[in-house]
Symmetry: C2
Subunit: 84 residues, 2 copies
């Protein structure tokens, strides 16, 4: 793997993994009042489009990162809608 693909994978890992502590926190607190619903919805749609962009341009880091991000953000959205 070349260096820049590696940088992309690290970047993708971080912006993806970032949502794990958020999901854990929201799940534990059962409270999401401080998190903007609009943010979650816009982010979910955006990440879906990044996924399309990644597939189209054949950029593996973008595909993997945004695929996982989408799952995490949907879980978070579910928690948000359950415990507003």
């Amino acid at each position: 793997m070349d260096t820049i693909t590696m940088v992309g994978f690290i970047a993708g890992t971080l912006t993806t993994v970032a949502y794990v502590p958020q999901v854990i926190r929201s799940w534990k607190l059962k409270e999401t009042k401080d998190i903007s619903l609009t943010m979650l919805v816009l982010y979910a749609v955006g990440v879906s489009l990044w996924f399309v962009y990644g597939v189209w341009t054949n950029a593996l880091p973008i595909i993997v990162a945004n695929g996982i991000s989408l799952v995490l953000i949907l879980v978070l959205l579910g928690i948000k809608l359950r415990y507003r």
Copy 2:
């Protein structure tokens, strides 16, 4: 501009603009208890690396989106540290 660059720009606009309602909400509420600090820090580092990735691969949507995202996430991090 070709179609896929446009998709990238829309994706980047959404995942970037997503943080605007979050910044506004956090600023208004003066409360960020439900937002994970670890998430914000990991996200800030990740977005910085995406920026590097974008510059390196000459992908304009990635450069612009992550540059603005970085500013917004740093503002949010500032609010988080101020009003824990």
